[in-house]
Amino acid sequence: MSAPNARRRLNDQTAVGLLLAGPAMLGLFLFILAPFLVALALAFTNLRLGSPLPLEFVGVKQFERIFTDPDFLRALSNNLLFASTVVPLQTALALGLALLLNRGLRGTVVFRTLFFMPVVFPMSLVAVVWVLIYAPGPEGMMNGFLDLVTLGAWEPRDFLRDPMLAMPALMLLSIWQGAGFQMVILLAGLQQIPEELYEAAALDGAGRWSQFRHVTLPQLRNSLVFVVLVTSILAFRLFDQVQIMTRGGPDGATTTVIYEAVQAVFTRQQVARASAMTVVFFLLVLALTWLQRRLARQEREIG
């Protein structure tokens, strides 16, 4: 192929390439990249929705404000608490389910379907239904259940209005709704582990536990890292349950970064302040992603 020919061909493809990628790239520019840059810029202004006063640049004032705002700090720590509790619990539950389903038992598909079912439920519906489950007094379902398993020792509580119990209550339903998703990913990871590895380990005299530690976990590492990342990011996006079930209460026990941002922009029209909050949120997500990429890469280097 001669050189001019190749260039013409390249040029032809540039036109076609731009044409094909154009609509999607335009969408990404307009609705993701541009808004993101705007959010960055707005965080340094005093913009308010509908204010008749002029727009001003205020430097890092919004960041100073939110980092001295006890509610926002509470929100950050709630998100961290949620992530540090839900991520290990949900991952362990999903892994347990995946291991049980990977034993080649009859009826596996039925169970897998059941465990996955909550995933197709919109979170807002789940939240509304669980308000009923958490109903105060002995007639509430959760109170009734706890009364049953503690053989009557349980004192009925008002879960969603109890500063100690409101956050655990949100965690539980989030795990219920999300575990199936993680389970499916881990199950796919498990099924890719070659049977020979287990056979070799068994020949070496490795027991169940040893096989799990030295074959399953290392082989599943990338899937686990992914699941942990996705669950952590979801923990920082926590909003629907809070808005519907507790409105951040009682006394800030369930407020979150996104809930605070929505409160700022939606009920107080503080666009700039909310932008600053979402920038902080983005930096957290970025840090998590970076961490996951590093962990996953390490694995590749070793492997």
């Binding site: 990628a21 919109p122 509304v128």
Partner: protein
């Protein structure tokens, strides 16, 4: 892995116990939706919560009477359906351009796509909300659809699939002088059904339950989708739990039916999301 008989029994017991816990809220919702309103809360703490004693469809009738349920359902189907359908075309075309064509700016743009993948919607919700408000686009379908069609992760999923397709498929067609677009529709699409199914299912799961955005930009029932409709139905006095559960049941039934029919595809689609790592 082979399991001993005892191990198998233990596994079944564990699975059954867990399945009951997973099913309890769903069973309660279904049973409660059939019960008289005042009995739902009273019986929630007992086993009667799962038994639709005195079952009737009154609550379902009340849902249609008290809310514009069919309108909400239509809105949800229309909004999600359009995002998914338009997203399949737009993102697959872009992915194809990235995976197969040689063009200037390709690598730069593709890196941008990879970078945008990590940007969650919440990070851009504030400026989008501000824009929608000042442009007067609130309470429209367009504001609930257009921003979500182009999707970096969908592009990446398609890209990963296309890059693994054998090149011979297209080369045969291109010798026949077929245009790029024709090759895409005649050769690539028919050979990429799993990728299309995965992307469709993942984006469906993402947008069908979307709550934050419609909460921010819709106020009139004419354009509100189901997730915000159920939340506001729950706050609409009088609090009638039977009606709320009937609304919830009506809301998940169609999706559940689709899921049960295509559950293999759902599972495969979700599993494929993990290739991101």
């Amino acid at each position: 892995m082979k399991a001993s008989r005892l191990g198998r029994l233990g596994s079944y017991l564990a699975l059954t116990g867990l399945a009951l816990l997973f099913l309890a809220p769903l069973a309660m919702m279904l049973a409660g939706s059939l019960k008289p309103n005042e009995r739902v809360l009273v019986e929630a703490g007992t086993l009667a919560a799962f038994l639709p004693v005195g079952a009737s469809l009154d609550n379902y009738a009340a849902v249609f009477e008290r809310t514009d349920f069919l309108r909400f359902l239509f809105n949800s189907v229309f909004i999600t359906g359009t995002i998914v359908a338009a997203g399949l075309i737009v993102n697959a075309l872009a992915a194809y351009a990235f995976a197969r064509l040689q063009w200037r700016g390709r690598d730069l743009l593709f890196n941008l796509v990879l970078a945008l993948m990590i940007l969650p919607f919440e990070a851009i919700a504030v400026p989008l909300f501000y824009g929608a408000s000042i442009l007067g686009l609130r309470d429209t379908y367009i504001v609930q659809i257009l921003p979500f069609i182009a999707n970096a992760f969908s592009i990446y999923l398609f890209y990963s699939f296309f890059i693994g397709l054998p090149r011979e498929l297209e080369e045969a067609a291109s010798l026949d002088g077929a245009s790029t677009l024709r090759i895409f529709f005649a050769v690539i699409v028919p050979n990429s059904k799993p990728a299309f199914a995965s992307v469709a299912i993942l984006s469906f799961l993402t947008w069908w339950g979307s709550y934050l955005w419609p909460l921010l930009v819709t106020i009139v029932p004419e354009v509100r989708p189901l997730p915000v409709a159920i939340a506001s139905f729950y706050t609409l006095p009088p609090l009638q739990w039977g009606d709320i559960l009937a609304f919830g049941t009506l809301m998940v039934m169609p999706v559940l039916a689709v899921f049960l029919m295509f559950q293999r595809w759902f599972v495969r689609g979700v599993a494929s999301s993990a290739i991101k790592g």
